[in-house]
């Protein structure tokens, strides 16, 4: 520290005296004898003084040169640091890209105009239950979203009972807002839809919610008795990948911005601000019950 400080002080003093010396120099150029009345008395002193002036000017130039050099190295070092940061970021991005399995779809891609829709599904989801049920519950979820898993676990029994009783028609919307693995899982869900196995397949995917590649999704299907060669080929080929993208787009158009999102008869169940998870589930159940009661009442009136 002391050295650096001393050095700084010296540089500063050199600079300030340099300023003085240049002023003296300019006055000398104009003609010192006329400007200074006592100069004529001591003409012999002018020579040695000029020498010292010259020395000051030199040291001033050297100090300036060194300061410029220091500035340059400082800029170089800063540039090196910035390059290091950019390189580190690039490495992170490249490593991430290289670790992605080949063919992992982009979950924000737009599907083509025409694509295969699984039997039993529509372009925006999969209805489950009686078509004339008085209450329709739209469930928007991402297979890779942990809160969707929690929500599904907490409400599965309730909804199963309601669907069985014929009061509720569920519409599953397996949307892909997290990443390409969501698309693969949703496409596999489309395959499961063809044999009306979507609810149990969904539950099984949620039970091992990692980055599931297509072979792993086949294994998930096997756990819930989806072993037919058609199903396996369907998952392996991601036959319904475009459908999965289409479901995501449709949900986006419907105003879904996060998962899980639930709508009862077309009206969203909005989580209370600072509300708990249990409250959200209670709200869902109450909204469903209210809608069912309203439907019963209107039916009785008719």
């Amino acid at each position: 520290m002391s050295q650096g400080k001393n050095h700084k002080k010296r540089a500063r003093s050199a600079r300030s005296s340099g300023g003085k010396s240049s002023a003296a120099k300019s006055s000398a150029a104009k003609g010192r004898p006329s400007s200074k009345p006592d100069a004529s008395n001591t003409p012999s002193r002018s020579k040695p003084k000029r020498l010292t002036e010259q020395r000051w000017v030199d040291s001033d130039r050297i100090a300036e040169h060194r300061a410029a050099q220091r500035r340059r190295t400082r800029i170089y070092r800063s540039l090196i640091a910035v390059v290091i940061l950019l390189a580190a970021g690039t490495v992170g991005w490249v490593v991430y890209r290289s670790q992605l399995p080949s063919g992992l779809p982009d979950n924000s891609a737009k599907p083509p105009a025409n694509y295969a829709v699984p039997a039993g599904a529509t372009r925006d989801g999969v209805p489950v239950g009686q078509t004339d049920a008085p209450v329709t519950v739209d469930l928007y979820f991402d297979f890779r979203c942990p809160h969707c898993r929690d929500y599904e676990r907490a409400t599965a029994q309730y909804f199963d009972k309601q669907v069985e009783a014929g009061t509720v028609k569920m519409v599953y919307h397996p949307i892909s807002i997290i990443d390409g693995y969501s698309v693969w899982a949703a496409a596999a869900a489309g395959c499961a839809t063809e044999t009306n196995a979507l609810p149990r397949f969904t539950r099984e995917v949620f039970s091992q919610q990692d980055q599931l590649n297509r072979e792993e999704l086949v294994a998930v299907g096997k756990n819930v008795d989806l072993t037919s060669p058609e199903f396996i080929r369907c998952v392996q080929d991601s036959k319904y990948q475009n459908w999965a993208l289409g479901v995501t787009q449709a949900a986006e158009k419907a105003g879904v911005r996060s998962t899980p999102s639930v709508a009862v008869n077309g009206e969203a169940v909005v989580p209370r601000p600072r509300g708990s998870f249990e409250e959200f589930i209670d709200d869902t159940k109450r909204t469903v019950a209210d809608a069912a009661a309203k439907a019963r009442k209107s039916q009785a009136e008719q």
Binding site: M1, Q3, G4, N6, H7, R10, R66, R70, T73, R74, R77, S78, I80, A81, V82, I84, L85, A87, A88, G89, T90, V91, G92, W93, V95, Y96, R97, Q99, D106, N107, S108, C145, P146, H147, D150, Y151, I177, I178, D179, Y181, Q211, R257, S258, T259, P271, P273, R274, G275, S276, F277, E278, E279, F280
Partner: protein
């Protein structure tokens, strides 16, 4: 009068020990960056999900930021810890912190329910978890101040910049 005098002496003491003070700032800032980076670097998918949850960037840009940011944070932490180009590191830190503050503040203003994802995790919160925007913004403002201080007084004890300056000084005045 006495109060201003005491403030003056304190300020002088602060200035006298600023090499040590900057060292503390450097270590604190470097520690935070390393912690933030290392806790996220193993899970780029989660990091990307956390960036996407802010809904400020288009998906493609969010992927790039999410995958690159942990490595940038680690590199930033290392350069600060080594004391290399501290002023540049401090300025970059301040800019990043400012971006984080804006991100969290707008997330709060838009009523998003997310975890900042600052130290791994991140993304949407379930309804049970409460947001911690105030604490997160407070912490980031603190780090912004530390980074700002370091940008003003980048020279500190120990580290490559310090050694470089001493070597330069020795060459000038052997």
């Amino acid at each position: 009068m006495a109060v201003t005098d005491r403030m003056k002496t304190t300020w002088r003491a602060v200035c006298r020990h600023r090499l040590w003070l900057s060292l503390c700032a450097r270590v604190v800032l470097a520690g935070f960056w390393l912690w933030a980076g290392l806790s996220k670097v193993g899970d780029p998918t989660g990091s990307i999900a956390a960036v996407k949850a802010y809904r400020l960037l288009p998906d493609a840009a969010a992927s790039v930021v999410g995958a690159a940011l942990p490595m940038v944070e680690i590199a930033l932490g290392l350069t600060l810890l080594l004391g290399f180009a501290v002023r540049a590191g401090a300025v970059v830190s301040a800019v990043l912190q400012l971006m984080f503050i804006i991100g969290i503040a707008t997330a709060a203003a838009r009523g998003l329910r997310i975890d900042c994802g600052c130290f791994g995790g991140g993304g949407e919160l379930s309804s049970t978890e409460s947001t911690r925007y105030t604490a997160e913004i407070g912490r980031d403002i603190g780090l912004l101040l530390v980074a700002g201080m370091l940008a003003i007084w980048p020279m500190s004890r120990f580290g490559l910049d310090y050694r470089h300056q001493r070597r330069e000084a020795k060459q000038l005045h052997p």
